[in-house]
Symmetry: C2
Subunit: 357 residues, 2 copies
C-alpha cells in the first residue's frame, strides 16, 4: 500500500485540497470579481461540509443599472462529509449492487456509513460560455463497533465504492470546446484502462437525459457509480474476471478519481477563459435563460442526488439547490431553437449525442 | 333529472363556455395587450384540447428596451378532453378510492375512461398582483362496449368523480385580497353545504406544501378530489351516511363545480385590477422572481398533475409546463424575506397558514 491512512481520510484530504484548487482557479481568472463565499456547516445528524459559493449582488443593490461584468453568474463548489447509521431498508437496497454488504439479521439496527464528496456547478454569465458540473464521491459501510472497542480503532470496512463524473452544458455549440472537454477527460481515464472512457461517456449521455423533452441536458462527459473491487454491471460487461483491465482496488480507483478531479481545471477553465468575453445579443441571453429552464427541469424532476437531498430530513437545502441557475426562463412554444439556426445546431446534438473524443 | 344529456357532455359544454368567459375577462381588463393565443390540438391516443395562452414578445424583439406594460406576463387557460383505455394496474389503484370500479378478472384488457378538465395558471407582471391557479375536472370509467353495441349507445358508467380547486399565490401579502379570494370561494361552497369550504381549505393548505422549504406555495384556497356519491375519506369524516349534508349526485356535484367555476372571475379579476398598476421597485421584482422559483419547485417536484403529465407518453408537454412562470430566480441564502420586512410578512403566513374567510 502506498499509504497507511484509511481511505476515508485520504479522500477527505484530497477533496479539501481540490476544492481550494478549483475555487482558486476561478478567482484567479476573474480577479476583480467578488471572492467565493466560504460557509462551513455542521449536520446535526453527523457530518460537516464547506460550501464555496459565487454570487453577485442583485442589480437593484448596485448604483448603476449596467449589467454586472463578472465572468460567473452563479456557482458553488461544495464538500460534504457525512456519517451516520444506514437503516436496514437502505442496506437491503444497496446489497443489489454491493455483494460485500452482509445480509443483516432481522431486528438489527443498521450499519454505520461514511460518505464524502465534492460537488460543483458553475453557471457563467456569457451565453457563449458553458455551464459545467462535477461530482466525485466515496461511500463506505462499516461493521458496527464492538461495545469494548477503543475510540481510536479503525472500523472494519464491509463495502466501499466511488462514483462521480463531470459534464458540460453549453447554450451554443462550439465543437472545439466539446472536443477539448471530452478529450481531457478521456486522457485522464485512458491512463487507467481503455474501456473506461467509452463506458462512462455512454452512461453520462443516458443519465443526463430529459425524457419529456427528448433531449440531453448538455453535451455530456463522464458518469459512473458503484465502482469497487467487485464485477460491475456496466463497466465489466463480459463477466466477473474482466475487471482486471480497469482499477479495482481502493488505491487504484482512488488514483483514477484523483486524476479525474485534477483534470477539471484544465478541462474547463481554458473554455471559460476563451468564451467569457464574447459579445452577445439580448436574443442570445434569452436562449441561455431558456436552456437554464431545461437545467432546472432536469435537476428538479430527474437528478437522483437532488431528489434524494430534498427528501432527506435535515439536509442543507441551500447547498442542494445551489445547482439551480440564478435565472431561468420558460416560453410557451418558443420560436427559438429551430433547425438552421445557431440554437438549432445545439438542439441537434442534444437530441442525438455525438462522440467528441 | 334536469337534463337528459350525459354528464360528460354537460361537463364538456360547461368548461368550453367557462374557458371563453375567463379568457374574455382577462382580455377585457387589458384591451391593448396582445390577445390570448388559441391552439386546438388532438392527442394521437384519443382526445382533443384547446390551449389559450398569453405571452408577450420577448424584450429583444421590441424596438424599445422599456419593459412591456401588459398586465399579464404569462398565462394559460387550457381544456383537455381525453379518453382511452385504463390498464388494469391503474384501475386497481383507483379502486382504493372508488368502490364502484369492478375488480377485473385477470387477463382483462382494462376499461374505457373519459376525463375532461379546465386548468388555468396566470402570472401577472406586477409583483403586487398575485399568481392564480384553477383546475376543475371530471373523470368517468365505463363498461367496455359489447361487440354488437350500436355506436350511438351510451356506455354504462361504472365510476365517476369530480375534482379541482383554486388557489392564490402572491409575492406580497394584502390581507384584503386574501379575504376577498377566500370569501368568494366560501360563498360558492356554502350554498352546497357548510362543511365543504373548511374541509377543502385545509386540503388545499396540505396539498400546496413545499416540504423541503417548510412553506406553502401560496395563500391557498380550496382543493378536492374523488368527489362522488360514495362516502369520502376527507369530506365525510363521520362515516358512510354523513354525505347527505353535501352534494352527492352527479347533478348536484356538477352544480357545485359550476358555481365554483363561475366564481373564478369575481374571485380574482377585481384583485388583479386593483394591483396591476401599483408602482414597484426592482427589489420587489427580484422578490417576485424568487417566489416564482418556489412555484417552479412545487410544480416540478411535488405537483401530481405535472409529474403524471411528464411521465405520460404522448402528453402535450407545452400545455403541462405552461404553468411555469416566464422567469424565475434562485439565490444562495437570499437576504430577502427576513422577519420585519414586507417580504417576511408573506413568509409568516406561508409557514403557518391562516383562515381568511
Amino acid at each position: 500500500m502506498a499509504t497507511s491512512k484509511p481511505m476515508r481520510q485520504q479522500v477527505e484530504e484530497y477533496i479539501n485540497a481540490l476544492q481550494d484548487t478549483i475555487v482558486g482557479a476561478f478567482e484567479e481568472l476573474d480577479p476583480n470579481a467578488p471572492k467565493f463565499r466560504r460557509d462551513s456547516w455542521v449536520r446535526a445528524q453527523g457530518g460537516t461540509g464547506r460550501s464555496c459559493v459565487f454570487a453577485v449582488p442583485p442589480p437593484s443593490n448596485t448604483s448603476s443599472s449596467a449589467p454586472s461584468t463578472t465572468i460567473l453568474e452563479k456557482g458553488g463548489v461544495n464538500i460534504s462529509i457525512v456519517h451516520g447509521t444506514l437503516p436496514p431498508a437502505a442496506i437491503k437496497q444497496m446489497r443489489a449492487d454491493h455483494a460485500g454488504i452482509p445480509d443483516l439479521p432481522a431486528g438489527d439496527g443498521g450499519l454505520p456509513f461514511f460518505a464524502a464528496g465534492l460537488s460543483l456547478v458553475v453557471h457563467p454569465r456569457n451565453p457563449h460560455a458553458p455551464t459545467v458540473h462535477l461530482n466525485y464521491r466515496y461511500f463506505e459501510i462499516t461493521r458496527a463497533p464492538a461495545a469494548d472497542a477503543s475510540s481510536d480503532a479503525q472500523p472494519e470496512v464491509l463495502a466501499w465504492w466511488f462514483g462521480g463524473g463531470s459534464d458540460l452544458t453549453p447554450s451554443y455549440l462550439y465543437e472545439e470546446d466539446a472536443k477539448h472537454f471530452h478529450s481531457t477527460l478521456k486522457t485522464a481515464c485512458d491512463a487507467h484502462g481503455a474501456a473506461l472512457f467509452p463506458a462512462m461517456k455512454t452512461w453520462c449521455d443516458e443519465y443526463f437525459a430529459i425524457p419529456h423533452r427528448g433531449e440531453r441536458r448538455g453535451l455530456g462527459g463522464i458518469f459512473f457509480d458503484d465502482l469497487t473491487d467487485a464485477p460491475h454491471k456496466r463497466l465489466d460487461p463480459s463477466g466477473a474476471t474482466a475487471h482486471s483491465s480497469r482499477p479495482s482496488t481502493p488505491e487504484s480507483i482512488f488514483a483514477l478519481v484523483r486524476q479525474l478531479g485534477d483534470a477539471f481545471v484544465p478541462s474547463y477553465i481554458p473554455i471559460l477563459a476563451k468564451r467569457a468575453n464574447t459579445a452577445y445579443t439580448p436574443e442570445q441571453r434569452r436562449w441561455q435563460l431558456l436552456r437554464r429552464g431545461r437545467y432546472v427541469e432536469f435537476n428538479l424532476v430527474y437528478d437522483r442526488g437532488t431528489k434524494f437531498g430534498l427528501a432527506t430530513p435535515g439536509a442543507r437545502i441551500e447547498s442542494i439547490l445551489m445547482s439551480l441557475p440564478e435565472e431561468a426562463r420558460w416560453e410557451y412554444e418558443s420560436d427559438m431553437g429551430a433547425a438552421g439556426t445557431e440554437e438549432g445546431r445545439l438542439m441537434e446534438v442534444l437530441r442525438d449525442p455525438k462522440d467528441w473524443a
